[in-house]
Amino acid sequence: MAKAALPVVQTVGLSKTFKDFWRRPRVHAVKDLNIDIQPGEVFGLLGPNGSGKSTAIKMLLGLLYPTRGRISVFGRPPTDVAVKQRIGYLPEESYLYRFLDARETLDFYGKLFRQHRQVRRERRDMLLEMVGLQHEAKRRIGEYSKGMARRIGLAQALINDPEFLILDEPTSGLDPIGTRQIKDVIRRLGDMGKTILLSSHLLGDVEDVCDRVCILYGGQVQAEGTVKDLLAQKDMTQITSEKLSPDTIEEIKGVVQRRESKSIEVATPTGRLENLFLKIVEDAQSAKIATSGAAEAGAIPEFLGTATDDGGAVIRSLIEAADRTTPTEPVAMAEKQVDTPKPSQKVLDALTKPTPAESPAEPPTSAPDPSKLPQQGTTQKDPVKANRSVIEGLLDGKDSGDG
């Protein structure tokens, strides 16, 4: 019998209570957290501010000590120095030395991994190119914009070619193109077999890159499962088509009404602002318009794994894919709502509605196989125990800070 792979991270009954000066319990930041992160998995930790995401991560890194429970990272305590040789960490803000420039920063962190000077220099240059800061490498970090600091923060997290990458709000402070680049890098690193723990309250980020997510609220796990399972709307059907004539649409409506006694909504889809923005920037970069910000992202360094494409090409392909899908955006067909949904439900529906442009790797949504659809009036056993009210609560949250 094949031996099961050891989880990269395993927590058992992990709890953290912050106490005040008089040692009185003040805040229960994390309560009885049990998570396993398997090798090669991109694991998302979701939650609003104060949900315990960062506290959990800091306990995984040995920066905070648990009040109760047990943590193992690569089968060892998180305070073990040897474990840190295999970890890369990007905190929620890039806590870098302002007086160092980008090269010195990467060089300094490389030295802490006892890397040979030649290796260090090579990695430093490759990472600077990857994050698009090769032309700003001699500027002090203190002069960087927040987005540029995030990029160099990501570069330092990768300096040791980590097996396990912990990213806390990696896209915070980044412009859309930077966000797309970072997400692409995460996805590519995931493809290369890296284990990634991504913490965010930006649902789109997590949805785009994570294999499995865990939603925290009040320091406790509210839902856990694959993104696909969590987001599946099993009571909806979506049909996508090229532009149809009004007659055809009327006919389809009639068919649906006759056979299913349900109404459908027909709309002309619009393109996404993100895609438009990316296209404009792409055009500007092609025209070589001067900018003091980060340059176009380069290739993922070879030392991180086998890179088959460069980041810029990926972005271009994404934009092209998005452009191609624009005229064929799905015509949503939904059951007529009897009750007006609550505002939060509307937001939830809008956010969880599959958008082909956001997942170009997926084939265009076709009509679902009726045999695989749940029968009306029957209940299908959901493999994921998701507390929808909590998700709604998350989506209601107006916070934009860290959790």
Binding site: V27, S54, K84, L96, Y97
Partner: protein
């Protein structure tokens, strides 16, 4: 060790780029460069050199002591600015971090001390190259300032047997009968001290032989040894001058004998220089003091004065054992030991407290370590009787415990010897390294590492 050195280098780089360190360095440089032009002393070149040495070394010690404390600020910055989160997620043990920070501060101190020392040496040589006021000034500069002289104290007889005999005699005559309290040992010691002091009193026409041991000088005639003494007299003559002779050497031991008749002012320090071939091969030196008062002048007896040498160090023989440069290096070495200790104090405090608190604590340690004898003397005078007795007893013992941990900076202060051209021994430096660095600094760093390993390095905001 690699990680420690990486952090140390980072600390040096960070400190050099920080404005606090830079302003300290610039200010120190300006002061050192300005001091030669401000140092006048007693308007002699030797006096100016001594004044410059006094002020320049003091300036370096004060500035670098303060800087050692301020240089621990990056640790506090790492904690408040959360750079520590990035560091502690790298393969860097917490003790590596603490030791690295300390090593960085110590290395920077060593660099600055070297630069400061080189400046002091260069500027001293510049001052010494100025034309002397007179021949005496030139001689004093050469033999008493820019020198590393060893001092041998005169061997005082034990007088234990004499003290015993005197005590027995006192008992027999009933001197102590009727006394409420009488301590035999203390009384014997008092008599012994009295006899020793009397031995340093030379009556008119009396001769006293002073013997010195361990005079390990080059015994060539061209090498000079120096007898330094200070005396007072029982009656002050009108001109405040007494006459006597010093006779150096011993014919029995086959050395040259030199006679030095003197007419010296009272209550001042005097030096007599003679060739070193009066020192015996066994490194002993015999010096005879001949109190020729009263002497006859114009048919009348003059000032029948008794000469008194107060204290064991009132007569010393000096001889050269090294150079001024070597002496300066050893003096700065002792300063470095203190700076290493202070850096450890600052680092250990900063790993636990916020920077202002750590700073205050480190300055308190500096103050306490510099005033150890004064404070210990003060507490020993506190009465331990009455209602407050228990509190006073506790306070006294608490202070003694604190001083058991804290070093005595005064006992490693070589400045006085440096200015006086006296040898700062390598053994003293090694004792400084052992006591201040290897023991006290190690204990502090160990405590700092343990406390830092126990603490959570992040404060979570909600």
């Amino acid at each position: 060790m690699g990680s420690i050195w990486t952090i140390a280098r980072h600390t040096i780089s960070e400190s050099i780029r920080s404005k606090v360190a830079l302003s300290f360095i610039i200010l120190l440089g300006v002061i050192l460069l300005g001091l030669p032009f401000a140092s006048k002393g007693d308007n002699t070149v030797s006096g100016a050199v001594q004044a410059f040495l006094q002020y320049s070394v003091t300036s370096v010690v004060v500035f670098l002591s303060f800087l050692s404390i301020f240089l621990a600020k990056p640790i506090s910055d790492d904690l408040s600015g959360k750079q520590i989160l990035m560091l502690m997620t790298k393969p860097l043990g917490r003790w590596h971090y603490v030791l690295g920070r300390w090593l960085g501060i110590v290395c920077l101190n060593a660099m600055l001390l070297s630069v400061g020392g080189a400046m002091i040496y260069g500027l001293t040589m510049y001052l010494a190259s100025k034309p002397p006021m007179d021949e005496l000034d030139a001689k004093r500069l050469k033999t008493q300032v820019l020198q590393a002289r060893h001092a041998s104290n005169v061997i005082t007889p034990s007088f234990a047997a004499a003290a015993n005999a005197q005590y027995q005699k006192n008992v027999e005559v009933g001197k102590y009968s009727g006394l409420e309290y009488h301590n035999k040992t203390a009384e014997k010691e008092r008599i012994r001290t009295q006899l020793r002091e009397r031995w340093r009193v030379v009556w008119p026409l009396e001769v006293r032989v002073f013997n010195f041991e361990d005079v390990r000088c080059d015994k060539k005639p061209e090498t000079m040894i120096h007898l330094r003494y200070a005396h007072t007299v029982s009656n002050y003559p009108p001109d405040e001058i007494v006459k006597y002779s010093w006779i150096f050497g011993s014919q029995e031991k086959g050395t040259k004998v030199y006679v030095a008749p003197r007419r010296d002012y009272i209550d001042r320090i005097h030096t007599v220089s003679v060739p070193a071939d009066c020192v015996a091969k066994d490194n002993t030196l015999r010096v005879v003091f001949e109190n020729v008062n009263p002497y006859i002048q114009f048919g009348e007896a003059q000032h029948a004065n008794t000469v008194v040498f107060k204290g064991a160090d009132s007569i010393q023989v000096f001889f050269s054992v090294g150079t001024f440069g070597g002496n300066l290096m050893r003096a700065l070495g002792l300063v470095m030991c203190k700076l290493a200790f202070l850096s450890a104090v600052a680092v250990a405090f900063t790993t636990v407290f916020s920077f202002p608190v750590a700073c205050l604590g480190a300055f308190s340690v500096l103050l306490l370590a510099s005033t150890r004898s004064f404070i210990l003397d003060s507490v020993s005078w506190v009465p331990e009787e009455g209602t407050l007795g228990v509190v006073q007893w506790m306070l006294n013992n608490m202070i003694r415990i604190v001083y058991f941990i804290l070093p005595d900076f005064a006992s490693f202060n070589a400045l006085e010897l440096l200015v006086d051209g006296r040898n700062i021994t390598l053994m003293w430096l090694l004792m400084g390294i052992g006591s201040l660095v290897l023991i006290k600094t190690s204990i502090l760093l160990l405590a700092g590492c343990l406390l830092f390993m126990r603490r959570e390095v992040d404060e979570v905001s909600f």
